[in-house]
């Protein structure tokens, strides 16, 4: 089973960038998204993200995530339309100001979610952790916790799927069309999932300790993550993005 945040191998410039530079790039796109206050800037930033994804060959995967995000964004738009009462009415309860702020909120939501996911798609988690430890002096414990948490997402979702299948085969109506009923049926499954995740986490901690986890220092990593020309260029792009975000 493939997951949205799984690493997609590749050899593009984006793949070869220092993981820290990639992180900075994602962070500055997000920062710019928050700072900017105009449609052209928001759409432009989103376009940059999508272009980068297309360049790295992960647009298809990102589109799958978009399919999930767009409905959420539309719900936000509806809420904004309902709550913003100033401005002149356009259609039904919607006002022009509501449309404008709502539209921006939608774009911001997408603009914040996508860059981070894109970064995870083109970076191996181990590289990300090691580079953060080396360059940003993040304690390895935290970096490891973070990457382990991400690594467990697909493991647990597979476990959840398997549990749902087992229960469906017994006759629990997960194939019902009613989402509320489905949610009610799913709640009792938290117990088996919780039990299996606690034991998995414990086994994982033991295995890591038995492989010398506590001996690890900043100098341990075999791979080095030097900052090269393209990384400097990326940092420059970051600053440019943030400045552009403030101005536009």
């Amino acid at each position: 089973m493939l997951n949205v945040i799984d690493y997609v191998p590749g050899d593009t410039l984006l793949h070869r960038l220092n993981p820290v530079a990639k992180l900075a790039l994602a962070a500055s796109i997000i920062a710019a998204t928050f700072l900017s206050d105009g449609y052209p800037a928001l759409v432009g930033l989103l376009a940059i993200t999508l272009l980068l994804a297309a360049y790295a060959g992960v647009l298809g995967r990102l589109a799958r995530l978009l399919k999930l995000l767009v409905p959420v964004a539309l719900i936000m738009l509806l809420l904004q339309l309902a709550f913003v009462r100033s401005g002149t009415p356009v259609v039904a309860f919607a006002t022009d100001e509501g449309l404008i702020t709502g539209g921006k909120a939608c774009l911001r939501l997408l603009g914040v979610a996508l860059p981070l996911v894109l970064m995870l798609m083109v970076t191996k988690l181990t590289d990300l952790a090691n580079a953060c430890v080396e360059k940003l002096h993040v304690p390895y414990k935290y970096a490891f916790t973070f990457t382990t948490a991400l690594r467990f997402v697909p493991v647990f979702s597979q476990e959840m799927n398997a549990i749902m299948e087992a229960q469906t085969a017994r006759g629990v109506e997960y194939d019902t069309k009613n989402p509320i009923k489905k949610l009610q049926l799913m709640l009792p499954l938290c117990v088996p999932l919780l039990i299996s995740s606690v034991s998995k986490t414990d086994a994982s901690a033991l295995a890591a300790e038995q492989r010398g986890f506590y001996l690890r220092t900043r100098a341990s990593s075999y791979k080095r993550y030097p900052v090269r020309g393209i990384d400097i260029a990326a940092f420059a792009a970051c600053i440019a993005l943030i400045v552009a975000g403030i101005l536009l």
Binding site: T147, A162, E165, G171, K200
Partner: protein, 606 residues
């Protein structure tokens, strides 16, 4: 040789007032040993492994008495990290052990942590991958590997650290016979060439007996038996009492020894040994003339055969205690039909093609094949979890393409490999009654029926299922299947993770259901179990059905078995070889007792 690990009167309990998981265990592991640990569930095997690897006392807390010394150091006095420089352990759950997404990074993790000089790392990785036979997987994503490959990566990741001892807890539990064999061959190679001591907990006796030089049999927290495989499997009587399986070939030679046809102290551990032994007995009988051997020992031998059997049926005189004698198919309508069924997973990947199959009420059909052959897909098509993209599946009169799974569930019950995915209620009784309630049976009636089944299985009525042992949880899940009284039962690896006795209880329950007219479809990696219980088998490979037919006939077809990468059961393999080299009358025998009887007849008539 020097002892690398010494345990001296070690006792351990996980809780102050809990039963002792280990009691007064003393064990010496010599450097260079290949030690196998076997025993029924709850015997303390995993606890013993945890003591050897230092997880006790450093990770699991409880009350510990006695001393464990690893390379001369008491495990209580050095840190877990220092212990793991000597003892590398491969976790039971390898998904929890993995830290990286790519094979190379997985190996790097430990090397980096233990501070291996960076100029040596490249050499170590290349060497380790080669030893484990996975050099070509170096840059692969771990998520895309098969179960067997993953297991080898997990072993390589520990092996790269160059430990002196390797401890593995059931490394082949999820693997098919061919992959299990490969993993054990790898371990044997590491043991022989690098001199690394290997300690492995394992339920598959045939593998243990052919690879280990020493076997420890555990029972109720203590060591019941210890010695070379020949010494251990000679004690057929004791092993049976403990609920430990022994290789079928050892049962044959033990039965022959009981009949006075061969020496008692040398059980056969593999098909070759058994073949040579029987050939020799018959040659000797031919040479010495009629009635020279075994004639007076015949009644004793018959008893021994019956006792050596897997089932409790006391019919030593009937030709085959497992042979189906059910209201068989003739004239009845099939309860399950697959008509040219095809299925492709969205997003590509494995698919099945052109599956055609008919199963009649009261039949027990085994589905065999390698991991990834499409067996699980077949079971999911059967219970409606997957809908065929091509062709039609009809089960108990329902077309799975047109009916919701919850409707099909009234007729088809599935016993999954992992009972924990099935169990979701707080007490055993609620859990067993749950399936009935889902089908709209009145709650009081459901409880009453559940109670009958629980009583029959001897399960604790009001306990929380999750506080029971793995084997008992499987029995709870099985009770949930039995209470439904379904037309079709689907079993997905019903015996994995169970000890021999639990495995037989599960299978005998299933056979009873088949006797009452329920059709059983069983996916199983244990060919001995399949050949004992299934009258028909379906052989699958690469998403297709290669062959269907009577179990003994198909298992004897060595060309078919090779194409499907299935290791035939020992007895059938042996019978085939004997038929070829010794006497054609051995052809198509599939039972231990029949082989023994035939040998006796031939020896008598000579």
């Amino acid at each position: 040789m020097a002892a690398i690990i010494e345990m001296d009167g070690v006792s351990f309990s996980y809780d102050a007032d809990a039963r002792r998981a280990l009691s007064d265990v003393s064990l010496r592991v010599e450097e260079g040993d290949f030690l196998g640990i076997i025993g029924p569930s709850g015997a303390g095997k995993s606890t013993l492994a945890a003591c050897l690897s230092g997880a006790i006392p450093h990770h699991f807390t409880g009350e510990l008495y006695g001393a464990t010394r690893v390379a001369g150091h008491d495990t209580c006095e050095i840190t877990l990290t220092d212990i793991s420089r000597t003892v590398g352990s491969v976790a039971q759950d390898i998904d929890a052990q993995m830290v990286a997404s790519v094979v190379e990074d997985e190996l790097l993790f430990g090397l980096e942590n233990f501070g291996v000089p960076h100029d040596q790392i490249e050499g170590r990785i290349a060497r380790t991958l080669e030893t484990a036979g996975i050099s070509e997987l170096r840059h692969r994503e771990i998520a895309t590997l098969s179960g067997g490959q993953k297991q080898k990566v997990a072993i390589a990741a520990i092996l790269a650290l160059e430990p002196r001892v390797l401890v593995l807890d059931e490394p082949t539990a999820a693997l098919d016979p061919v992959s299990s064999q490969v993993v054990f061959d790898t371990l044997a190679d590491i043991n022989r060439r690098l001199g690394i001591t290997v300690i492995v907990i394992e339920q598959k006796v045939a593998l243990l007996s052919s690879h280990c030089n020493r076997i420890v049999v555990m029972d109720r927290g203590g060591i019941a038996l210890e010695g070379s495989p020949h010494e251990v499997f000679r004690r057929a009587e004791l092993l049976r009492e403990l609920g430990v399986d022994s290789p079928r070939t050892a049962r044959i030679s033990n039965s022959l020894a009981a009949a006075g046809l061969c020496a008692a102290d040398d059980p056969c551990l593999n098909v070759e040994e058994a073949h040579d032994l029987i050939a020799q007995i018959i040659r000797r009988a031919d040479a010495t003339g009629p009635g020279a051997a075994g004639a007076d020992a015949a009644p004793a031998a018959a008893d021994a055969c019956a006792a050596g059997q897997t089932s409790a049926t006391p019919h030593a005189a009937t030709p085959s205690p497992h042979a189906p004698r059910r209201p068989h198919a003739e004239g009845a309508a099939p309860v399950l039909t697959f008509e040219h069924v095809g299925f492709t997973y969205p997003g590509g990947g494995a698919s099945v093609e052109d599956l055609s199959l008919e199963v009649y009420p009261g039949e027990l059909v085994g589905v065999v094949g390698q991991n990834g052959a499409g067996k699980t897909t077949l079971t999911k098509l059967l219970n409606g979890l997957l809908r065929p993209s091509r062709g039609r599946v009809r089960v108990a009169g329902l077309d799975t393409g047109e009916n919701p799974v919850s409707a099909i569930a009234a007729h088809v019950s599935t016993l999954f490999q992992n009972p924990d995915r099935q169990i979701c209620k707080n007490t055993v009784i609620e859990e067993v009654a749950f399936g009935l309630e889902l089908q709209g049976v009145d709650s009081r009636e459901a409880q009453r029926r559940a109670e009958t089944v629980i009583d029959r299985f001897g399960l604790p009525r009001d306990e929380a299922p999750f506080s029971l042992s793995r084997g008992q949880r499987q029995m709870v899940a099985l009770a949930g299947v039995v209470v439904m009284n379904p037309d079709v039962v689907v079993l997905d690896e019903p015996t994995s993770g169970l000890d021999y006795r639990e495995c037989m209880t599960v299978m005998e329950t299933v056979r009873d259901m088949a006797d009452k007219g329920c059709a059983v479809i069983m996916v199983c990696h244990d060919m001995e179990v399949v050949s004992d219980f299934a009258e028909r088998i379906v052989v699958m490979a690469d998403g297709r059905i290669l062959g269907r037919g009577p179990a003994s006939e198909l298992f004897a077809d060595s060309e078919l078995m090779a194409r499907a990468s299935v290791t035939p059961p020992q007895v059938i393999d042996l019978a085939g070889r004997l038929a070829r080299d010794v006497s054609p009358t051995f052809a198509h025998i599939s039972e231990v007792s029949d082989i023994v009887r035939r040998v006796k007849e031939l020896a008598d008539h000579a």
